[in-house]
Amino acid sequence: MAPLTVEGLHQAFTAADTVVKAIDEVGFELREGEIYTLLGPSGCGKTSTLRAVAGLERPDGGRIVIDGTLVAGGPVFVPPNKRDIGMVFQSYGIWPHMTVFANAAFPLRVAKVPKKEIRRRVEEALAAVHLDGYEDRMSTQLSGGQQQRLALARALVRRPKLLLLDEPLSNLDAKLRAAMRAELAALQQEIGVTTLLVTHDQDEALSMSSRIAVMRAGRIVQEGTPREIYQRPASRFAADFVGTTNFLDGVRCDGKRVRTALGELDVPGAPAATAGDAVLLAVRPEALRLHQVRPEGVPNLVRGEIERSMFVGDSVECHVRVADVVWTARQDPELPVASGDEVWLELPAERISVIA
C-alpha cells in the first residue's frame, strides 16, 4: 500500500478577478521510505500541492489517499489534525512562547499521551536532531538551524506515516544549507519515514531525493530519479530549470543521427523515432569535451571560439561561441585557455539528450 497517492488534483485561486490554476491535474505516488521531491520555480504550485496533502487547503478536485485512507476526494475531507502527517513549514512555525521541550511535546500532549512516555519520546526526538540538552531553553533562543531541527523533531515526534517538508533549508545560509542537506537525508534514512519534499533548489532536489517530479505552472512535467531528470530531461523546460544546458535544434535523419546547423551528429539510439521529426538536443556543460587541438577520428566535433573563460575554483567555465550561439563548457581548472582561442568541442553521443 502506497504511503501517499495523489490523483488528478486541482486547485484554483481567484485573486483580483483573475483565476490562477495553482494545481492542474497533479498526480503522483510515493513509495515506502523514499524522499519524493516536487521541484519547480517559485509559483508553480508546489506549496499548494503540499498544503492540499496536509489538509490545510481543500482541493477543488482530485483524490488524496494516505496509507490506504481516503483523506480528500468527493465529499470526503479529513481535517489536517486528523491526518497522520508531520510537517515542517518554510518559516518553521516554532512557537515563541514555549520552551524547546514544550514545542516538541505539543503533538503528544494534544494526543493525550501519558507524561512519562512524552518525556521519553521527546528526549529521543530531540537527541535525533542533536538538540538534547536544550530542552529548557526558550525556543526563541535557538539559531535558525536549531529552530529548523526543532521543527523537524516536532514533526517526527508523533512518528507520522508521512513527513512533509516545505523548502526546509531555504532560510539557512549557504554553508549551513549544504551541511543540513546531508544531515536531513541521513536522518530521514535512519527513521525511514516516507517524505514529500518541496523545493525550488535543484541541488537540494538532486542530492536528497529518491525521485523528483518537476513542476511547471501547476503541472508535473517530468518524473524520475535525480539522474534521469538531470541526464535525460524530457523537455526544454526541465533541461533549462535543472542545471545549465546547451541547446541545439535539429531534424532526425534516422534512429541514431540528427542533422543540425553544425552538421550531422550521432545521438543515443531511439528505435521508435521517425526520420524528419524536429528535435531539440541538450548537452550539459560538463559533458562537453574541449580540445585545443583538433583531435583525429572523433565523431560529433564542432569548432568554436572562446569568448570568455571564468575560473570558478573547482572548474573553469568556458563560454564558447559556436556558429551564432554561445555554449557553456565546464572543464578542468588547469586548462590553459584564453579569450579568442580556437577550440573544438566534442559532444559524446551517449550524453546528448534528444528532446522531442
Partner: protein, 585 residues
C-alpha cells in the same frame, strides 16, 4: 510529458467515520457569534436614521421630513449645527497643532525625554475631560476664574479678558484634551517611517523645515488623517466638556443638544431633530471613514520600501532648546498641572475662591467629610462594575470580529471589518442615543433594558469594539499563519490551536487592550449620562450631578477620588507597556 498516477483499485480505501461529518470551521462559528453585535451596531444606526424620518422621533410617529427641514431651517437648531462645526474645527486645530508639534519635537529632534513625554501623554489621555473642563473654569471663567480675577485686579480691567466658557474656549479645552491622542498616533507614524527617506532629502541639500514640509508630513499623512478623524469623532461625541462648560450659558453643540433635547427640564422629550442630526452625522462619519480607509490603502502602496525603518539623525535644537523647553513645560503646565491643582484647591474650599492668603484660612477637608458617601459608594460600585464588564465584553467581541476579519476566507470578512470600524467613524453619542430610544420603546416588560447596567455595559462594549478590533487585527496579522498551522499539523483541533497557540501569543495585546478600555470606561461620561439611570450612576455621573447642582467643591472631591481609583490600573498599565508606552494608542 505528463505523469498520470497509475490506476488504482480503491478497495483498500476506507474513509474514516469522522471525515464526512463536517464540523463548522472556527471563523465560521465566530462569524455567527459576531453577527449579533454586528447586527446591533448596524441596527442602532439604522434605527436612528429611521427615527429621523418620524414625527418627534417616535417609532410610531407619522412619516415626515420635518426633522430635516428644521435642522437646516429652524434658526435655533441651525445655530447648534454652526456651533458644532466651529467647536470641532477649533478642537481639531488645537489638537493637531499641539499633538503634532510635540510628536515632532520628541521623535525628530535631540530634545530628549522621549519616554517621559510619551508616558505623560498617555496619562493625559486618561484624565477625564470634565476634569480638565472644571480646572479651566476655575482658571478662566469670566466671573469665578482665578486668573481672570487676578488680571482684572492687576490691570484694573472692566471685564474679564478671557472667556473660556465660550464656543471657542470649549473647543480649545477639548483640543487640549485630544492633543495627547493625536500625539500618540502621530509619534507612532513617525516611528514607523523609514528614516532613510528623510535623510535622503537632507542629503539632497534640503533644510530641516523643507524636509518636514515636503517629505515627513506628506508621508505621515495617513497617520495625521487617522488621528484627525479619530479626534474629530471624539470631539463630536464627548458630552463632558460641552455639558460642563456650555450648559450654564446655553452654548449647545451636537452632543449637549442631543442630551438636552432628550432630557428636557420641562416639556416632552424631542427625539426627531436629534435623530435627523445624527443621521447627517452618520453620513459624514461614513464618508470620512471610507476616505480614510482609501488613503490608508494608497498609503500602503509606498510602503514597499519602508519596512521597519531606522530613525533618521535627529535635528539639533541648538539655541532653540530653550524655546522647546518653554513649549513643553508650558503645555503640561496649562493643559494638566494647573487645572489639576485648581480642582484640588477648590475641593478643599467651601465655595469657589481664587488662591489667596484669606482663602487659605478656609481650607479644610469638609467637602470630603461632607460627601454623601452612600451616593459616592454607589457610584464607585457601578463604576467598578462597568470598568470590569465593558472591556471584558468588548475584548471578547473584538476577538471574534478580528478572527473573522483576519482569518476567514470568505468575502464576508470585509463586511465584519467594516462594521467593526463604524464605531470609530461615528460618534458614540449616536449609538447611545439609538440604544436609549430602542430601550425606551421596544423593551418594556420583563426583558426591559431601560436604565439597566446591562444596557450601559452593552453599548459601551459595542462602541469599544472599534478600538479592540483595531488592536487585535494588528496583533493577529503579526502572528504568522504557519504558527497556527503547525498546531493543526501536530494534531490539534482548530479550537485547541487557538487556545494553546494564538491566544497565548496574543496575550500582551489582550492585556493592554483590556486595561486601556477599562480606563476609558471609567472616565467616560457620555454613555452613562445618556443611557444611565439612578441605578447605574457611575462616579463620573455622580461628579457631574454634583457640579450641575452647584456643589462644585464636592464635585471636585469626587473627581479627585475617581482619578485616585484609576491610579492603580494606570500603574499596572504603564508597567505592562513599559517598553513602548505609546503602543496602546
Amino acid at each position: 510529458m505528463t505523469v498520470t498516477a497509475p490506476e488504482r483499485t480503491s478497495a483498500t480505501e476506507t474513509p474514516p467515520a469522522s471525515a464526512t461529518r463536517r464540523r463548522p470551521s472556527l471563523p465560521g462559528t465566530l462569524a455567527v457569534l459576531a453577527a449579533f453585535p454586528a447586527v446591533a451596531i448596524v441596527g442602532l444606526l439604522v434605527l436612528v436614521v429611521y427615527l429621523g424620518f418620524r414625527a418627534h422621533g417616535q417609532p410610531d410617529g407619522a412619516l415626515t421630513l420635518h426633522n430635516f427641514t428644521s435642522l437646516f431651517g429652524d434658526s435655533q437648531v441651525w445655530e447648534v449645527v454652526v456651533n458644532t462645526v466651529v467647536y470641532v474645527a477649533v478642537s481639531l486645530a488645537v489638537a493637531l497643532f499641539f499633538g503634532t508639534a510635540l510628536a515632532l519635537l520628541v521623535e525628530r529632534t535631540d530634545f530628549g525625554w522621549e519616554r517621559t513625554v510619551t508616558t505623560a501623554m498617555v496619562l493625559r489621555i486618561l484624565i477625564p475631560g470634565f476634569f480638565t473642563a472644571m480646572g479651566w473654569i476655575f482658571l478662566f471663567h469670566p466671573r469665578i476664574g482665578a486668573i481672570n480675577q487676578w488680571l482684572v485686579e492687576a490691570f484694573a480691567l472692566e471685564k474679564a479678558p478671557v472667556n473660556i466658557v465660550s464656543l471657542v474656549g470649549m473647543g480649545f479645552v477639548e483640543g487640549l484634551a485630544l492633543s495627547a491622542l493625536v500625539f500618540s498616533m502621530v509619534s507612532a507614524s513617525l516611528r514607523n517611517l523609514d528614516g532613510a527617506l528623510e535623510e535622503a532629502a537632507r542629503a539632497s541639500g534640503a533644510g530641516a523645515w523643507r524636509v518636514l514640509r515636503t517629505v515627513t508630513l506628506p508621508l505621515i499623512r495617513p497617520g495625521l488623517l487617522g488621528s484627525a478623524l479619530f479626534a474629530g469623532t471624539i470631539a463630536v461625541s464627548s458630552l463632558d466638556i460641552p455639558l460642563i462648560m456650555g450648559l450654564s450659558n446655553r452654548v449647545y453643540v451636537f452632543s449637549s443638544y442631543l442630551f438636552v433635547a432628550a432630557n428636557p427640564s420641562a416639556g416632552r422629550p424631542e427625539h426627531g431633530i436629534p435623530a435627523a442630526f445624527s443621521a447627517v452625522m452618520i453620513l459624514i462619519g461614513i464618508a470620512f471613514g471610507l476616505w480614510y480607509q482609501r488613503t490608508l490603502r494608497s498609503g500602503r502602496k509606498y510602503q514597499v520600501v519602508a519596512g521597519k525603518g531606522r530613525q533618521p539623525a535627529r535635528i539639533r535644537l541648538g539655541r532653540w532648546r530653550v524655546a522647546a523647553w518653554a513649549f513643553v513645560v508650558g503645555y503640561f503646565l496649562w493643559s494638566t498641572i494647573l487645572p489639576l491643582l485648581m480642582v484640588l484647591w477648590i475641593s478643599l474650599l467651601p465655595f469657589v475662591q481664587k488662591p489667596s492668603a484669606a482663602a487659605l484660612q478656609a481650607v479644610s477637608l469638609d467637602n470630603y467629610r461632607g460627601l454623601d458617601w452612600s451616593f459616592v459608594l454607589r457610584g464607585l460600585e457601578n463604576s467598578v462594575k462597568v470598568m470590569v464588564l465593558a472591556p471584558t465584553v468588548a475584548v471578547l467581541l473584538s476577538l471574534a470580529f478580528s478572527f473573522v476579519a483576519v482569518r476567514a476566507r470568505g468575502r464576508y470578512r470585509y463586511a465584519y471589518d467594516l462594521v467593526a470600524f463604524l464605531p470609530q467613524a461615528i460618534p458614540g453619542t449616536i449609538f447611545a442615543f439609538g440604544a436609549m430610544t430602542a430601550a425606551l420603546y421596544w423593551t418594556r416588560g420583563w426583558y426591559g433594558l431601560y436604565g439597566s447596567l446591562a444596557l450601559l455595559v452593552g453599548v459601551m462594549a459595542l462602541i469599544q469594539v472599534a478600538f479592540g478590533t483595531r488592536m487585535f487585527n494588528a496583533g493577529l496579522l503579526q502572528i504568522h499563519a504557519e504558527l497556527e498551522e503547525s498546531a493543526a499539523m501536530s494534531g490539534a483541533s482548530a479550537w485547541t490551536a487557538v487556545r494553546r497557540i494564538t491566544l497565548p501569543l496574543l496575550r500582551p495585546v489582550l492585556t493592554y487592550t483590556w486595561l486601556w478600555l477599562a480606563l476609558l470606561s471609567l472616565r467616560d461620561l457620555t454613555v452613562p449620562t445618556l443611557i444611565g439611570s439612578q441605578d447605574t450612576l457611575t462616579l463620573s455621573v455622580a461628579s457631574w450631578t454634583l457640579f450641575s447642582s452647584g456643589q462644585v467643591g464636592a464635585s471636585s472631591a469626587v473627581t479627585l477620588l475617581m482619578v485616585g481609583c484609576m491610579a492603580p490600573v494606570v500603574v499596572v498599565f504603564l508597567l505592562l507597556t513599559r517598553t513602548n508606552p505609546g503602543k496602546a494608542v
